[in-house]
């Protein structure tokens, strides 16, 4: 009894056990899934690519700390969310971008899009994508001057080249195929492996896909967003007589479908909402690609759908256990 009396009792509400998974674990694992594409971008675009990556990530971390200090919140750099935003923003930039662009982009992404809306969990729009949209509109020329991949890490010859989507849009598929000796297989192969010009991280569809499959395997994401998104793009391409494989592999579709549209905070949380979200992202992407002024539509498609995420969660509710039967019983 005396022993029991000395024992200090801790009291809290159930449940008294919690799973080991944490938010920072999720963020760092998603970042790790982008590692293959990160390394590939350094390989394809050389030191310049690496510099853009590091500047963007460092800026995002700095603005995260700054924004949290300003509003007297604890600084939470170790949760990995700002790091991940930096990584994703850099993936959306050309390798030869002037370095003030990623810095401004990081400010817009972290300080404005994320923290002005309340910080992690409260932002409506995907921070990396708003950062990118802002710099694309502010510096349209620099943001669309693409560097062709370099043949080795040490080579410094920078050749400007339009992206495949751009060429296909402005000059047609025939013109694009000329760059690949008229061989579609060659084009697909280059798109898959990343030997094309484009943003840092979205060039190799294959490496992004590997990262995406890793997240699926880890159950950090599910098929409910990426599969409807990608399938819609392919179906629209088929229906409109465009090359579905090209639309699948070119541009930022893989990155968008697996890493941006699946962002927890800015997408729907219900599975039904996610399917609609994915389909709508696919439709908007193809609408912009085929009819819009920009060659690529993934970014705007996701940003537009971000606005609808809360509405989708409200309208496409889960079904409460026993709810259907109750209705039947009352009629």
């Amino acid at each position: 009894m005396s022993e029991a009396a000395q024992h200090q009792l801790i009291v809290s509400v159930s449940p008294h056990i919690k799973s080991e998974e944490t938010v920072s674990q999720i963020m760092w694992t998603v970042s790790a899934a982008l590692l293959p594409a990160f390394l590939a971008s350094a390989y394809f675009f050389g030191p310049r690519g690496l510099i853009v990556q590091l500047v963007t990530i460092a800026s995002c971390l700095a603005f995260e700390a700054f924004s949290q200090k300003v509003v007297n919140k604890p600084v939470t750099l170790s949760d990995g969310s700002a790091f991940l935003t930096g990584l994703l923003l850099a993936f959306n930039l050309p390798a030869n971008i002037p370095l003030y662009v990623p810095i401004v982009g990081s400010f817009v992404a972290i300080s404005i899009t994320k923290h002005l809306f309340g910080g992690l969990g409260y932002n409506i729009f995907n921070p990396a994508l708003v950062g990118r949209a802002f710099v694309l509109i502010s510096w349209p020329r620099q943001m669309t001057t693409w560097m062709a991949p370099v043949s080795s890490f040490t080579s410094v010859d920078v050749v400007s080249q339009a992206t495949p989507l751009n060429v296909a849009k402005l000059d047609g598929m025939a013109k694009l195929l000329e760059q690949f000796d008229g061989s579609k297989i060659q084009l697909y192969k280059s798109l898959l492996m990343g030997q094309i010009s484009g943003s840092l991280g979205e060039t190799s569809a294959l490496l992004i896909l590997i990262g995406g499959l890793f997240l699926l395997f880890k159950k950090y994401i599910t098929w409910h967003v990426p599969v409807p998104f990608i399938a819609t793009v392919v179906i629209v391409a088929l229906v409109t007589g465009n090359d579905p494989v090209f639309h699948l592999l070119a541009g930022g579709l893989m990155l968008g479908a697996f890493f941006m549209a699946t962002d927890y905070v800015t997408g729907p949380a219900t599975r039904r909402g996610q399917i609609v979200f994915g389909v709508m992202c696919g439709l908007l992407t193809m609408l912009i690609r085929l009819k819009g002024g920009y060659p690529e539509g993934v970014m705007f498609a996701i940003l537009i759908m971000n606005c609808f995420a809360p509405l989708l969660d409200r309208r496409l509710r889960t079904t409460t256990f026993g709810a259907v039967k109750k209705k039947e019983a009352s009629t």
Partner: protein
């Protein structure tokens, strides 16, 4: 053997290893027992004894006239030394009858044995159950005779015995199914007779293969009883999930098992029912798992109701650490205790002692809308939405998200990577809404 499960749910470590292999032992009967006058859902009992009265084991010390109530009995023979508010495992102090044990262990007169109990008629059986003060012993503590009295228009088709014991750590039902298998089956047969059905099921999670084997053995000659092996998944033992797993029916939201023709009873309750009908014995003891990393010698104890938690801790070698949580019940739905003078009641299935590290409440962050809680909620709710609304104090809006269908199983809060205290908020919201009424 048939298997089954329900949709969603989660897989916390089952942590049964502390006591799964430990046979039931009878705990020391304490010098004093504390009999709370409310150990059930429903009307609290009025004391039927005075301070100074001599009582015998099994004598009624508290009773209420209301139908939804259950009498409480002296669990030792001795003298009533106090009738006063006393700490209670479910939180608030509750008027309780304190009895000093004279260690004579004299049963009250007039307990009727019925060797031929199965030939009793259903009403007589039900009366025995009511007199014995039996309530749901899995923790819900709903008076059993009420559950066994469905209105005429609800046709009951089967009885399910709940041997899922999905709460981690707890092994009380597990051990009873091994050591008292025949009593369990006898109890089930009484139940089937009371509600007039010829279909009985026993659902057991597959992490208890020895229990499954033992129950199958005991049901060898019972063609009307079937043992189901259920997936080990929390909260498999929740009444609605159990029914879904075995008969495939969904209890309507806001409804009761009887709405789909099912009566569910806990394993311990079945044994108590058998003892009440066969021997006329009131409910005076139950099995309690005393377990966890914070207790020196985890045990499965047969405990006299009214035994203070501190006596059980002592019986199990005392605490291993100088701080920690002591939980009445399991880790998912049990109540952390603030006073170890509180006594074991009819619904106390376990006393779980956590180590200091395990007792820490991690700081919680914002909801990142990852949807894990939605994926696991056995009731198909959107806990993420409930948590955000509760945090903002928007309790009225929570009703639109079926707040009232949440039975606080804790699955959402268990999986939440932001460690949000979702159950705490849900309880708070329900309390607030109840006060407004």
């Amino acid at each position: 053997m048939k298997t089954g499960t329900f949709e969603r749910g989660t897989h916390p470590p089952d942590s049964k290893e502390f006591t799964a292999a430990k046979p039931l032992v009878t705990a020391k009967v304490p010098k004093r027992v504390i009999i709370p006058l409310s150990q059930h859902i429903g009307a609290p009992c009025q004391s039927k004894v005075q301070v100074g009265d001599t009582v015998k084991k099994g004598q009624v010390v508290g009773q209420a006239d209301a139908f939804v109530s259950a009498p409480v009995h002296a669990t030792v023979s001795g003298k009533v030394v106090a009738i006063m508010p006393y700490p209670h495992t479910l939180g608030r102090d509750v008027p309780s009858v304190v009895i000093e044990n004279d260690e004579k262990e004299e049963w009250v007169d007039g307990l009727t044995e019925n060797p031929d109990y199965l030939s009793l008629d259903a009403e007589a059986m039900k009366a025995s159950v009511r007199q014995a003060g039996i309530v749901g012993m899995g923790g819900a503590t709903f008076p059993t005779h009420v559950k066994l009295s469905p209105p005429k228009e609800k046709k009951i088709e089967c009885v399910i015995l709940n041997g899922a014991e999905c709460e981690p750590y707890l092994t009380a039902d597990h051990r009873m199914m091994i050591e008292e298998a025949d009593e369990v089956v006898a109890g089930l047969k009484v139940l089937m007779k009371i509600v007039g059905v010829d279909r009985g099921y026993i659902g057991i999670e597959e992490n208890k293969p020895d229990s499954i084997k033992s129950m199958e053995e005991a049901c060898r000659n019972e063609p009307s009883i079937e043992v189901y092996s259920l997936h080990t998944k929390y909260p498999q033992g929740a009444e609605k999930m159990l029914i879904k797993a075995i008969v495939g029916r969904e209890v309507p939201a806001g409804g009761l098992p009887m709405d789909v023709g099912v009566v569910v009873q806990n394993i311990g309750t079945a044994v108590a029912i058998y003892e009440a009908v066969r021997y006329g014995r009131p409910l005076v003891e139950r099995v309690v798992s005393v377990t966890g990393r914070g207790i020196s010698e985890p045990k499965n104890l047969r405990v006299r109701i009214g035994t203070p938690l501190s006596s059980l801790i002592e019986e199990c070698g005392g605490f291993k650490y100088d701080s920690g949580k002591v939980i009445a019940g399991g880790p998912m739905m049990g109540m952390a205790q603030s006073n170890l003078d509180a006594a074991v009641i009819k619904g106390t299935s376990g006393v779980l002692v956590l180590s200091p590290e395990e007792s820490e409440t991690p700081p919680h962050g914002p909801c990142i809308r990852c949807g894990r809680c939605i994926d696991v909620c056995p009731m198909g709710l959107q806990p993420a939405m409930l948590s955000v609304l509760a945090e903002a104090g928007m309790y009225e809006d929570m009703k639109e998200y079926d707040l009232m269908n949440c039975f606080e199983c804790g699955t959402c809060a268990y999986v939440c990577p932001s460690k949000r205290p979702i159950v705490q908020w849900v309880k708070l919201a329900k309390m607030n809404l109840a006060q407004k009424k």
